[in-house]
Every structure is written in structure tokens, then in C-alpha cells.
Symmetry: C2
Subunit: 251 residues, 2 copies
């Protein structure tokens, strides 16, 4: 059965996260509903991973299988006509049988955006965390460096996470100023629940001087309570998902 890979962007504000949940508006639920309409039968969508309620995506990747249906390159047009304005189809293409939106992922990149202006821009409030307190950005950058590489990230994930293996590899944690905004960009081979938001909350707590603990010490303890706050969902955006043999998937 032909397999279609679809890249979508979404404004997570009005969704209860990515994963289908009965009676709730979710990305997977809305997408499956519109794909079922196009094919006249149910279509199951597989995402590169879940995003939590309120989290956005510039370029989430999903796949689905279908026997008959329009050519791959028609999906963007058909879905754009049909989807609500807060989900935008960006790219669709046919992929080999062994492609899987989740299991073939090589690198995921998230961007978290903090708004630091004293007077917040009201048009960014859904997409940023307004935290105007003074921060030692250099200290945050140094702490970010200590997160790189392969670690057990138990201290940086929701304490309710049931995944057994909490070892992940971070390829980049960049803290970058952009005008009155501060972007924290994290790339890695996988992320645990709330991992980026706890990394961001911890870096901010360190930068503001609320927390006085070395990242190495927090990692080694494997104890969520030693890390900082969980930054709010609204500042987080799934930026890019990369697959083997494929450098950049989205514009």
C-alpha cells in the first residue's frame, strides 16, 4: 500500500495536544477526520511523536497508508481547502514502505521562545513565554553546554513518565537572542515528556539566579525535583524532524 509522508504546521493553542482523544480536539483527530473524508474510509495517521496541549509545530511529520486515493502531491491542496486555519499542510510525498514517521526519525529539533520585553507584544502571547526578569544569558549558555551528548535525562522529564530507557542524546542546545526574544533551540535523537520545557525552565532559573546547582549534578541525581520549573507549553514549537538520508524536510 502506498505510504504518504505529510509535513504540517499547527498553532497548538486550541488543541488538546497531538494524540487522538475521544471527544477532544486534537491534531491527530482532526487530521484523521479530514483524511477519512478525502478517502471515504478511515485513515490512521502516525506522527513523529506527540506534542502536548498548547505546543505548536512549524513542521511536524506524519505518515499514513492508503490503497486508492489522489496522487501524493495533491494532498497539500486538498487538505488546505478542508482543514481549519490552525493546521497547515506544507508538503506531501510518497515514501518507501520502510519509512515510519516515528521510528525512522534521526533528529528532532524544538525551538522554545521567551519574550523578554517589559511590555509584551500582545500578538506573541500565544507563542511565547513572557519572562521579563533579568537573566544572565552567558550563564545559561554555559549550562546548556553541559546538557550536550548522551545522558540519562530522568531529572529532565515528567516524574510520571513510564518509559524505561531515559537515555537520550542532545546534539545542540543553543541559547540565542533575537531582538527582545530569547530562543532556546534543542536538537536530539529523541525527547522525553516535558524534556524541552524542563530544560528551558532550568536554564531560566539558573539565569535568574533562582537555582544554584550544576547541570552535571542535576543529571547525575536522576531526580526531577533537583531541576527547575517546567516552562509553559505555549512557548514551545516542534521546529524540524529529520530522517535518514534526508537533510532538510521543510521550508
Amino acid at each position: 500500500m502506498p505510504k504518504i509522508k505529510l509535513v504540517i504546521g499547527y498553532d497548538g493553542t486550541d488543541f488538546h495536544g497531538f494524540a487522538r482523544q475521544p471527544g477532544l480536539r486534537t491534531i491527530q483527530g482532526v487530521l484523521e477526520e479530514h483524511l477519512a473524508r478525502i478517502h471515504n474510509h478511515p485513515v490512521e495517521v502516525f506522527g513523529s511523536g506527540r506534542t502536548d496541549a498548547g505546543v505548536h509545530a512549524r513542521a511536524q511529520v506524519v505518515h499514513f497508508e492508503r490503497d486508492v486515493g489522489p496522487p501524493a502531491d495533491k494532498y497539500v491542496y486538498l487538505l488546505r481547502r478542508s482543514l481549519p486555519r490552525d493546521i497547515v499542510p506544507i508538503l506531501a510525498e510518497e515514501v518507501p514502505d520502510d519509512f515510519h514517521a516515528r521510528f525512522s526519525v534521526r533528529t528532532k529539533t524544538y525551538r522554545y521562545t521567551i519574550q523578554r520585553a517589559a511590555i509584551p507584544d500582545v500578538f506573541s502571547h500565544r507563542y511565547t513565554w513572557h519572562e521579563p526578569l533579568s537573566m544572565n544569558v552567558q550563564r545559561m549558555q554555559e549550562a546548556a553546554y553541559d546538557l550536550l551528548g548522551e545522558h540519562d535525562f530522568t531529572s529532565f522529564c515528567a516524574s510520571t513518565t513510564h518509559v524505561e530507557d531515559k537515555v537520550r542524546t542532545l546534539f545542540a542546545v543553543d541559547v540565542a537572542q533575537r531582538g527582545t526574544y530569547l530562543d532556546i533551540i534543542c536538537s536530539g535523537n529523541g525527547f522525553l515528556q516535558y524534556m524541552v520545557r524542563i530544560i528551558v525552565g532550568t536554564l531560566v532559573d539558573l539565569g535568574e539566579g533562582r537555582l544554584d546547582r550544576q547541570i552535571r549534578q542535576i543529571l547525575a541525581a536522576r531526580d526531577r525535583s533537583l531541576a527547575g520549573r517546567t516552562a509553559p507549553a505555549r512557548g514551545l514549537c516542534l521546529w524540524q524532524v529529520d530522517y535518514e538520508g534526508n537533510e532538510v524536510h521543510n521550508g
Copy 2:
């Protein structure tokens, strides 16, 4: 009684417009509720004018009177702590008795933003009209020029408008490209209901070749049905309100 002038920005998406309406979430309603809490008694707010449901403001101006209460410059801090994130207080100052947020207005400026990229930016969907069809921007600029000056704008306002005098003066109607966005900026001494949105819809219809009529002919007819579409509310933003003796009121 001291009179306080307050400049606010708001994201109009989740409001039923500016004007207080029983049981509905409106800018005036929310603002009065929070000011009443600060003063421990009801406070009536007067705006520079209403904005319709879904319309935004970068810098709306309101005033209110109060006998006792905090110094003017404390309102921004107090309101920011208390208001929801989609209304942002920007500036507060004491003004002379004869100041009136509505009757003292000299110039109002609105910005309307059209998103023209084939693939819309999902994070702009609440603040723009996505209209990717090809447009003759030069033709739109020429038509905009014919709107300048004093005219009876009956053809460019909601046909249900009950105001008797529909003569207004436009000081500027600028059609400006900004990357893949097109801004239409209108300044004037006053605006009728839907006036900017009908101006924008008409300019777009002319630019796309859907409408083939001179602006002078539309103005002269004083007939709403000769003008173009009413552009959607979400692309419209009250940009600036200027008063006598005061050039710029907002950052």
C-alpha cells in the same frame, strides 16, 4: 475628578469586540471588571471607538475617571498583573478634564494585513487574511489614491449603519508590500462601521480583477452594493490614535 488615559493592545480573537455586552467577553467589559477590582467600585471606560469582533489593537486609547486610586503611572503595572494575556496595558497618564478618548481624536490609523504566500504561515492566521491569488498591486495603489480626502463613504460602510453623516476625511491609504505580506494602512479623522474592511475588500477585488469599476464611481453612487467584499475582521488592527497637540501616543 482626575482623568486617566490608558493605551492598551489586544488580540481580538477571543473577544466579542470592544463594546460591553451582557454575558459576552468584550474588551470594555474585561477592562471595567479589572478596574473595578483595583478601585473597589465600578469604573466606566470610554474608548476612542469600538472595534468589531475579531479585530485587534496595537494601541487602542481609553479614558476613565476616578476620585481616589493609585497614581496614574501605577496602572500599567497593576493591570498587567491582573488582566488576561490577550489585553496588554502599555501606557497610563493623567490627562486634563477636557480630554475625551473619543471626542478629542484627531487621527485614527488602522493597518490591515494580507498574507500572500502560497503556503500560509500558521502563526499569522489569527492576524492576517490569507489571500494568495495574484494581485495587481499597482492598480490597488492607484485606486487607493482616489479614496484620499473628504468623501461621503456610504458605499464603504455597512448598509445597516445608522449614523446620519457619512462624510469622513482620509489622510492616507497606503498599500505596502512587506515580504510575503501586503499591508493596507488607512489614516483618517474617523471611520464608519466596516469602512476599512470594505476599502480593503474593494482594493483586493480590483487588484484581482474581480471588480472593474472606478473608485470615484463607487463613491459617487453612495451604494454599498457597488463596492467589493468586506475583508475578514482578523486582518484588521487599530494601529494608532492621535489627539490634538500630541503627535505619537504609543511605542
